[in-house]
Symmetry: C2
Subunit: 313 residues, 2 copies
């Protein structure tokens, strides 16, 4: 599936960091950066841009902030061929925390928001555009948004100057038919804008849903190395790159980075298809209780978790 | 997706056994049998039916043979509410090894064959029908079959009395578009017959491809508990049952069986999404070299395996 408009955004450090509080060392981030560059990936989302006051550096690693000094430690001495992105969470970053793009190595800021935060997100994304960045709005947890509210939100986004709007399956609850239906809705409601997809793998459908998105005309595609990401994780980048069959993309550097940097983390943290994540996915729920269950000593006690989640009392 | 014609066939013991030489103990098989029955699954494929001379009982467990005595040890004392199936491999079972269905607890025999074995498979499947069983032919590795050969094979199958023909993605190489294209081809070429799907998970598409198959009109659906099966494994039964939303199906007994019987095996054998299986899947190759790599002490040396597989010399 070769379509020149397609852009691939790697979220390994940003979404993977949700599983280890961004405790990736410099070597990890540098090797991911090199591998993505060599593989021809378009964007590397290197973390979140946050106020220093929103988190303590004692608790979270540098990629919760994406300070320019930390970025420089990764990219200095390289010929930067990949665009860098950071995600901004509503309420965790102030306008003043965002430097002018001339003072930053970041190329794009993606504003993540829930449907009731769309106005605030548009304001922040416009601010990023005005400071010289590319900007997107990533509307999360759409699987829980009612039709009227979605239509109103999309109308507001249509009127904005934000050029890229993401369809985000935060809970891994969507089947490919949902993606097709929503892609159509987004494209009809957002004429002239580019649509993106960010999927989660609770039902082993993150890659399949990304393919459905491509077929439906979605052009910004999120993925991570070996699917690392919150809970069940994301669309595996190596599968997506292999599928796209664009000669500019290469799989081998990704396999190497998985071997050297991702597999060691796989022995320490548990993302991917596990029954608790499957349960929240099929129930269209946030994965937080599943993540807590996976962290507990009872992680293999599946039926206890199932009964807890399906209890009607 | 509620369609009364849909039948779900669990292959946990049969396909999972390819990973441990069918060394499941009686307690495992009995609990799977009970769980599938309670979950409302239509068929349990309990193993292969083979000549005693084809394998040594010192090397493989009882479910490589499916002797009636062994089946009785599982089902005796139960009210049998689920149909039992066994798979027959061409060349590993003689007509005389198959008892009349009146002397067997098996309800269905599925004949697995490659495209050049179709005539032999039809002969064996007719023999099973004549002995009173339901029968299917499972045409393996279709991803490697050329169009002319496929059309000839389907023509032969169309003329047979075998009522169910399977589309088998042995190598986990298909995308959903392949499934749609082939489902259409099978249905046009095999008027009046039922089509089945058996998928592998090398590209994390086993469940997605099973959904595509359902949408395309395929009615016999193979799956296994937690996806246990050769190499990358199969479509996870718990996901499929959850998707089907037929009130006759229940997920809870499956979660319980996964906790009590499948997770202990997961600590001993490695099925599921691993990079070596992904590599054979994307290359449309048999997983045997990936399985050997996964068994070796070099299993995490991914780039070595990748280079070996992609070497053009």
């Amino acid at each position: 599936m070769f379509r020149p408009e397609i852009k691939v955004i790697d979220c390994t450090v940003r979404d993977g960091g949700l599983m280890n509080k961004w405790q990736f060392d410099g070597k990890f981030v540098r090797q991911v950066y090199d591998a993505l560059t060599e593989a021809g990936v378009d964007y590397m989302e290197i973390g979140y841009i946050s106020s220093e006051s929103a988190f303590s550096r004692d608790e979270v690693g540098p990629w919760r902030f994406c300070a320019e000094d930390d970025i420089q430690e990764i990219i200095s001495g390289t010929e930067k061929k990949i665009k860098l992105s950071a995600m901004a969470d509503i309420g965790r970053v102030d306008h003043d925390d965002i430097p002018p793009s001339s003072e930053s190595s970041l190329d794009m800021i993606r504003v993540a928001c829930y449907v009731h935060q769309i106005d605030t997100a548009i304001d922040l994304a416009h601010h990023c555009l005005d400071k010289g960045y590319e900007a997107t709005i990533n509307l999360m947890a759409v699987s829980t948004v009612g039709l009227r509210e979605l239509e109103e939100g999309l109308d507001d986004l249509a009127k904005s100057r934000v050029p890229v709007i993401y369809l985000v399956d935060s809970f891994g609850a969507f089947y490919s038919e949902d993606i097709e239906t929503l892609a159509k809705k987004y494209m009809e409601s957002l004429p002239g804008k580019t649509i993106g997809i960010h999927s989660h793998n609770n039902q082993q459908l993150a890659f399949a849903n990304t393919i459905s998105a491509i077929i439906s005309g979605i052009n910004y595609l999120d993925a991570t190395l070996y699917g690392i990401g919150r809970g069940a994780g994301n669309c595996p980048l190596e599968l997506l790159i292999s599928f796209l069959k664009n000669p500019k993309f290469k799989v081998r550097p990704l396999v190497k980075a998985i071997e050297e940097q991702i597999l060691p983390w796989e022995k320490k943290i548990s993302w991917g298809y596990y029954v608790p994540y499957m349960i929240t996915g099929t129930m269209n729920q946030h994965p937080r209780t599943a993540m807590a269950h996976m962290e507990s000593k009872n992680r293999d006690q599946l039926i206890e978790y199932y009964d807890q989640m399906t209890s009607t009392t």
